[in-house]
């Protein structure tokens, strides 16, 4: 039987006229490094940086695959290691932007929630103040019969009435302490 393996080159040296093959994992290394650099620039821009998580992970994966290929073939790993380091740092910065966004959201929610509470308190106070001075009148009509109920006088009127009653009883006005 003819041995076909004898015709195939055993070394990595290229034949005359043949273009030399790049070391194993080099193409992946270049792709990883470029993706990592672009990710790094993107990750430090506030708000936009969150998007950088995806290319960051891609860069790390590409560099890892390239490194495993290079270690099997004992190829140079400079580009791959650079791509991996820059990719990891860029991904970490991009992830930190999620926390930054979360903190901004929390702060915003707290401020906004506090403002809503203040508004509700103001409205409650206004309603109570108005009701204290309000005169409520209920009229019920049933054919010819009419019933009218007047409830509550104003706060000022009630205080005045109370003062008058106390003056009538004691003759001295010493029970009501008005806040100035």
């Amino acid at each position: 039987m003819e041995d076909f393996t004898t015709n195939t080159p055993q070394s990595s040296e290229p034949l005359p006229g043949q273009t030399p093959r790049p070391p194993a994992g080099q193409s992946l290394g270049i792709a990883a490094l470029i993706t990592a650099i672009v990710t790094f620039v993107l990750s430090v821009i506030p708000c936009v940086g969150i998007i950088a998580i995806v290319p960051g992970i891609i860069a790390v994966v590409l560099a890892s695959i390239g490194l495993s290929q290079a270690s099997r073939n004992d190829s140079p790993r400079g580009v791959l290691v650079a791509g991996l380091i820059i990719g990891v740092v860029a991904t970490v910065i991009a992830f930190s932007q999620i926390f930054v966004a979360g903190k901004i959201g929390d702060k915003f929610e707290k401020n906004w929630g506090g403002e809503i509470e203040n508004v509700i308190r103001d409205v409650q106070k206004n309603v109570i103040d108005e009701l204290e001075d309000a005169n409520v009148s209920i009229k019920i009509e049933n054919g010819d019969e009419k019933v009218e109920i007047n409830v509550g006088e104003g706060k000022a009127d009630r205080e005045k009435e109370l003062e008058e009653l106390e003056e009538d009883n004691t003759g001295i006005n010493d029970t009501l302490n008005k806040k100035e």
């Binding site: 030399p20 470029i34 903190k103």
Partner: protein, 152 residues
């Protein structure tokens, strides 16, 4: 022999050369990325205000973040309206200079690398250090902003 095969044979030494020079490939692709950034800034108009990226911070809080107006600023710088660009984003010009500088550096360093192949390693180290420092100086306000928000 067809002309296409002739051309591929003619270009093959260059292709082989580039394949074994990752530095040159990286420089070419990064040049393309920077040109794309400028093309983005040139394509979208500050008058029409049709930028696709919206600031989440401004949407949530109503207050602009440190990078708000960067696209506007870039577009205005490309159109030569630098004072208006400064009004849109104070750091816009600084970041724009970084990208323009990178475009220049990629071209110059690639030419230098081809002309003086012996200085390859030193050139790559020099390029990495200078680019890293240039990056830190240009993006420092953004980095500060992120870390202040992260720590507080």
């Amino acid at each position: 022999m067809t002309p296409s095969i002739k051309r591929s044979n003619y270009l093959s030494p260059f292709r082989a050369g580039f394949r074994n020079e990752p530095y040159l490939i990286i420089n070419i692709i990064l040049t393309g990325v920077v040109i794309l950034v400028f093309a983005y800034s040139g394509f979208f108009s500050p008058v029409k205000d049709n930028y696709p990226v919206v600031c989440i911070h401004e949407k949530l809080t109503g207050e602009p973040c440190v990078s708000c107006g960067l696209s506007h600023s870039f577009s205005l710088i490309l159109r030569g309206r630098i004072s208006e660009a400064y009004d849109w984003n104070v750091y816009g010009l600084r970041v724009f200079i970084f990208f323009a500088g990178q475009l220049f550096m990629r071209i110059v360093f690639s030419v230098f690398y081809i002309k003086y192949p012996r200085s390859g390693k030193y050139l790559i180290v020099y390029d990495s250090v200078v680019s890293a420092m240039f990056f830190i100086v240009s993006f420092l306000p953004f980095i500060e902003w992120i870390f202040k928000r992260f720590l507080l």
